[in-house]
Subunit: 440 residues, 2 copies
Amino acid sequence: MAAIEGMARRAKAASLILASAPTGAKNAALEQMAKAIEGRRGDILAANARDARATAALVAAGKMSQPLLDRLTLSEAKVLGMAEQVRSVAALPDPVGRAQYAMELDAGLELFRVTCPIGVIGAIFESRPDALPQIASLCLKAGNAVILKGGTEAQHSNRLLAELLAAAAGGVPGIPTESIQLVESRADVQAMLALDDCIDLMVPRGGKEFVRYIQENTRIPVLGHADGICHAYVDAEADLAMALDIVFDSKTQYPAACNAIETLLVHAAIAPRFLPAAARRLGGAGVELRGCERTVALVPSCTPATEADWRSEYLDLILAVRVVASAAEAIDHINTYGSRHTDTIVTSNEETAHQFLKNVDSSSVMWNASTRFADGFRYGLGAEIGISTNKTHARGPVGLEGLVITKYLLLGSGQCVATYSGATARPFTHRPLAGEPRGL
Amino acid sequence: MAAIEGMARRAKAASLILASAPTGAKNAALEQMAKAIEGRRGDILAANARDARATAALVAAGKMSQPLLDRLTLSEAKVLGMAEQVRSVAALPDPVGRAQYAMELDAGLELFRVTCPIGVIGAIFESRPDALPQIASLCLKAGNAVILKGGTEAQHSNRLLAELLAAAAGGVPGIPTESIQLVESRADVQAMLALDDCIDLMVPRGGKEFVRYIQENTRIPVLGHADGICHAYVDAEADLAMALDIVFDSKTQYPAACNAIETLLVHAAIAPRFLPAAARRLGGAGVELRGCERTVALVPSCTPATEADWRSEYLDLILAVRVVASAAEAIDHINTYGSRHTDTIVTSNEETAHQFLKNVDSSSVMWNASTRFADGFRYGLGAEIGISTNKTHARGPVGLEGLVITKYLLLGSGQCVATYSGATARPFTHRPLAGEPRGL
């Protein structure tokens, strides 16, 4: 606990230095980090091989899944790809120091709301070693110190990566080594949750029980999502072939992803034509359907669904199916049972589409597109630190813009409020200004 | 508890309708609310007179302060001013539906990040009846439902105001009456804190113990500030007359305000000239000084300060004073003891000013201006719902922009992710788009 508190205090001190680091210094640090990954790739592969061996034994014993081992295991190409990812973050525009609001309050009294770093980020991520350099790069580019906690299966990989990235960054003047630190146990994470005076934002990724535990056990703001209960709604006026493709892609392209659909909603008018065809297409890919009464009547092979199915995130080849009477009923179902992650409508009716886009209360709402597009890279954000279903700060796939906050800067020439108060109050000009604060 | 939960569920349902309310309907509701205040001004004054009589008895008994009674008591002019405030919110641009990010992912696959309402706001405010219409207007303009809880001393005023504003808003087609609701007891607030599935944001204003209680006892995000420990730093290169004016205004113009200074930091090189003059000027206004050793040596009448003084929000005519060796030491003091609210530097050295503006980690940082400017109206935001010292979502005086969040809208023409994956992946175009999503 004391060790973690000391670490968090060093991260806070580092963040106050990083906050005024120029873009050039941050990019130089990112370049040194990329070079360190390339230069130490042999050591990284050796550390990763230790992790992979231990995990392979667990897979053989049936205690871990093969996909986890696949994501954990690095190759030389993957390591070089990690370096390129760091360089791609260096190539993104600096999110710090941008004026969002600029207003003259009076002659010689100018106000700016500028973006600035948040401070210290606590980032917890799954057993994929490539997540570590990506998260560390995004945090550093946005001027934040980060305390990282990766999946235990990747501990040797993570330990080496964090050590060499911190040293590489810290070698650049103006960038503290303590900008990047690593903790290794769940107890360390537990200790972090109490440090709301040092840690400004937690970004947990991974299993929903774990994310929910973080959300429920800290006063630190948490960015992320626990559940991904996503829906596709096939409207009465859908193009049937398009609907089949989108539903198939949204369910089967990567069923374990948070943005894969778990429930299919189908308008009653089109259900008799659509559902049997969908059952054949999805059944061919091994998808088990669990349907409402009307679905079962149209697709006799379908298992009856219970109320629990509408609230389930299967993350597997299972799909709940419900026939609805209208787009409004579909929207209501999604807002009631969904997790505000990603939902799509298939329709050729623009008015119905707009109704869906406006009224579905989710972080990504789509029209005639697969829910699987909900991703920072696909969205063109460069990289993502996670997907948020929060209703404050940042929502949806979160890139650099979610890792900054703002501060107001007021540049005066001796003004006092008494001058602008009372019976002889001098009026404010409140004239919008163009551009950034001079010289900052 | 059950009553409050039902109220919160009705607010949630109202918010889903409000989310797609056009600007015209929201502004019509605000105009009806303004008219209702004007039309019912006699009843409002009568209800307020009941509150004022009860509070006057408490003031006479020494259980309440006269300034509280002054803020509570309405006049006809104040009531008409409340109606004008509602109209001024109608005149502000609609914060909903603005595209912050627009990107073509591929031909016929367009992504927009647009602002949208947060949902349901829980707003708790002091015993000033004019706060109620202002908060209700801001929430409605941003498309949010609000559950209001005002100071108990204003209960009759608040009850009537909430009732007539809800009825006036609800008379406009497309605006639910349940967009504005009122709760009346601390137990109701307690019940609200558990309803994180219905209430999306709490905005508490008022005493710091109360705000801290809210922050520590709910999973709902909280926007606001508990402490306002603000500083003025008088640099070695300050214009002495300007520094005297700014320090005097920042401390005495309204000592009970959260943006009044509590600590004065003075560079050692200027302290022998500045501090005796400051002590005379502030002493003339009845300000008690509590100084560090060096301050006491220069101003013998000054009480010695203890460590607790650096952490105190007096909200009164008391000022802690510390002599520092450098701007860096001043910045370090502020980041250590401050509450990240509002801090100012007085200096004619631009480089020192920039160092202060960049490195002081506060929601408003000022150069040659009084801290008392930190206010939504003075900042030109039109109105403020509160001042936030949070490091996420919104920081500083918060206007309409802090009452919205974003959602991603992806408008496609049948695209699936499989097309953009694997060995024959179609590349994304990632071409920035100009403007808003068509027709939305």
